[in-house]
Symmetry: C2
Subunit: 168 residues, 2 copies
Amino acid sequence: MTAVEPVCTEEQLPSAARGGPVGHTLARVSRAHRIAMGRRLRDLGLYPGQELMMMRLWDCGAVRQSELIQSLGLDPSTVTKMLQRLEQCGYVHRSPDPADRRAVRVEATERGQALRAGVEDAWSDLEASSLAGLGPAERAELARLLGLVADNLREEAGEAGDCPPLNC
Amino acid sequence: MTAVEPVCTEEQLPSAARGGPVGHTLARVSRAHRIAMGRRLRDLGLYPGQELMMMRLWDCGAVRQSELIQSLGLDPSTVTKMLQRLEQCGYVHRSPDPADRRAVRVEATERGQALRAGVEDAWSDLEASSLAGLGPAERAELARLLGLVADNLREEAGEAGDCPPLNC
DNA sequence: CTCTTTTGCTTGGCTGGCCAAGGAATGGGT
DNA sequence: ACCCATTCCTTGGCCAGCCAAGCAAAAGAG
């Protein structure tokens, strides 16, 4: 079953998107992916997007907020609000950095740590589901191509000279 | 999967995302893509997401709101609010459907039509920028693989039996 | 002809995410 | 020592997008 079924294929892309078929597909896929992830995360008590922040905290332990902002590539205000909510849920603890009174140190609480297994399962599960039918070579190729696009977009985003020390 | 390149490649993916590297990259790429698109759209007076709705209207002329919902795959409430804003901006006109007093007919105004060229340019431009360095074969492969993932996700989303008449 | 279900859309509430503006603290230059 | 630029974070405002409820009209039972 190679699924060449003439069923519904292209989801008829808008003619105005002729100039950007890949981008269009990318947008659709990503939204579906996010929704599917959100469904899994809801059972864990998280909203889509929060899991990425928690991952960073699981990896890095206590971290300055600015490093979170950097590593996630998010707007500072976004991070502030997300952390406020995560703190209110008890997943995260914030404390003033003694060495720099402007800064805030963030770390996952025990409740936050407890989410890790569930989140990892959710990601693995979704990965399996969304890549079903793709062979290892195809998966690798998809990852590679997405990486290229990511590089192009990162470059266009202005700050080409990225890749900072990342001391975490 | 070799990819042990010490450069900068992977944007060091969180270890908790090991189970879903493709999904993780997908999320990042898509966000960057959306932002880059938003930058272009702002000059036109649109917010990211709205252009997809306008495309549909450009293609279909007057359309029932429910068909918009269906074809975009969005939540009804999302569409309602987007249309309210687009209407307030004068890009869209909404009128009650005489044949079905529950329904609403939507169409692009002249001001809305006027956006078309700009949006198409924006999409083409972003497509070129984001796919720079990829050959035609790679682009096709990327589109194909994304399509497969889209199918998988659509299926998982429950309503497998989709593919409605779509009389537009 | 009435009662129930289904369809279409709206409102309210919540999150992620952006930008713009602003307030502290730090650090660099003179 | 001083002042100014930079960094770090917060607040407010706005939009896309979700879900849950709800209301009105249309389509199906009975």
